[in-house]
């Protein structure tokens, strides 16, 4: 019984030590991590601006101008094509994100190895 207790407390000590070793300030200021954040920021911000602008443009184009009321195929106007294209734009942006974040995953792995986490 005593032994078990002792083992437990030793294990706890080790865990606590390990937890202390994660120096978040050090990681957050390391060059690799900063580079990762920078790359991520560039990617996320540029794409977010794109898909928000693309979708928020619709109400303005549709309700303040008449440029979308042009018939393209039969009686389908440009407005319908724009509206439906938002769905496909979403699919596209979504798959770009999946590809790009696989690259970021690789970089994260490298940081974990490098920082000895």
């Amino acid at each position: 019984m005593e032994l078990v207790k002792e083992q437990r407390s030793v294990k706890k000590d080790i865990e606590q030590q390990d937890n202390k070793q994660i120096d978040y300030d050090k990681i957050s200021t390391s060059e690799d991590f900063k580079q990762l954040l920078l790359d991520k920021k560039k990617f996320i911000i540029s794409y977010t601006i794109f898909y928000l602008a693309y979708s928020l443009a619709l109400p303005f184009l549709a309700l303040f101008t008449n440029i979308l009321n042009v018939q393209v195929i039969g009686d389908i106007t440009l407005a319908w094509i724009y509206g439906i294209s938002i769905i496909f734009m979403s699919f596209g942006v979504c798959s770009v994100y999946v590809k790009k974040s696989a690259e970021f995953d690789e970089k994260v792995k490298q940081i974990i190895v490098k920082e000895g986490l």
């Binding site: 865990e15 978040y24 957050s28 109400p59 994260v108």
Partner: protein, 518 residues
Amino acid sequence: MGWDIILLFVLMSIGVLFITYYASKKTKTAGSFYTAGGGLTARQNGLALAGDFMSASTFLGLIGAFSLTGYDGFFLMYGALVSFLVILFLVAEPLRNLGKYTLGDMITARFKFKQVRGVTAFNTIIISVFYMLAQLVAAGALFKLLLGIPYNISVLIVGVAMLAFVLFGGMTATSWVQIIKAILLVGGTFIMFVMVMWKFNFNFIGIFTDMKTATPFGIDFLNPGLKYKNGWDAASLTLGLILGTAGLPHVLVRFLTVPNAQVARKSVVWLMWIMGMFHIMVIFLGFGAAKLVGTSSIIEANPAGNMAAPLLAKYIGGDFMFAFISAVSFATILAVVAGIVVTGATAFSHDFYNEILKDGKATEKQQMFMVRLASIVITAIAIALSLFLQNFNVAFVASIALTLAASSNLPVILLTIFWRKFNKTGAIFGMLIGLISTIGLVMVSPNVWNPEPGVALFTGHPIFPLASPGILSIPLGFLGSYIGTLIGARKTKHVEDNFSEIIVKSNIGNDVKGVVNH
């Protein structure tokens, strides 16, 4: 209304409930999703997310909107899909990586104060009640159409039935309920889509030509502006929808049911495809309802168009299809409300009761009692409020809940993850100002005030011209967070900050700890 329809509907409802019951038993042996740290696969979670999001307001409301307002249905619809891009790019992975159980847990991971937790929980409950309203209004309209009983009594019956479901079986099974329901809903929609297009000989171009003469609106039906005369109104609505989902507590909680950020990411991909396909079908179902059922019949059943889908089902597939679609809609309402009630009640019992009042020391039994009590109170409030909202389009009522989430939760979530200088006062200010400004603006909007007596709740001129407050209330939420942060920074010169930890964890993930303990 023949008894055969009622019998079919009851049979199908029982079938749905039986599947739910079976799923809930299965879930219990697999352990609780939340405490297990999440064991759902990407596909399961994607379906469950779709289930959470494709509520009755989506299915009934959107088909109704396309059938009555033509092109303007788009403004109620597409924002939801884009909103999952916002979630994917900005929220899903950090949220999963910070690895907590409720939204309150996530925000207090950075600001360890009871006030912050309290405000977050309060917010969660308010948003949940609003979102529930939309479901209850839909349920009331559905039962009124189906059984011919008055709306008020329908809402009451449905509300009590839902509550019984949540109290006795729904607590642990929400995820499975959502998965099954999502399959039923998408399947039912697909069958209807094929049947409707059959009537139009699968001519996707010709159907547009047909629509020019199908409604009293003539060619205007196909052009933007039938409902939204004011572009700012549509833009405001769209903005609320695009940013709203990223702040909806019961959707965000879904990202805590998966093992890691990669699975969280993939589940959003699943969701996008399911919902994208669903949205395309919805457009044509709306057309089908307008042409086949007819504008006047749709308005007669419910002025806001909420019953267009069941009526269309009846037209193309007879009583059986009518009962099937009604039962699926009802299962949808049950499942979504179960999820929302559980999220709201958890915020109350976990955040308010256990963490704030009992310092995290409440027993399991006490917490279970509180969760049940909170479920009853939340449902009662929602039932009482929904009695006033019969003539609102349910997709619109849901859009108010989304705007609330976008104005009060989203600014605080984003700034917690991304802004180093953000502080406790900023978080509290942001949430409260977002919440108060949204509700305040709705109170003085054309939804509540109309110069003609009887059209809206009160007679008089609205002070705020737009029906959707998002375009003003969302920036106010961010502004509130910013001003609060400045005030907080002045009060205390230096506070201990764990932003480094937050930013490392949100980008690298929980893996850090796993590797360390090896």
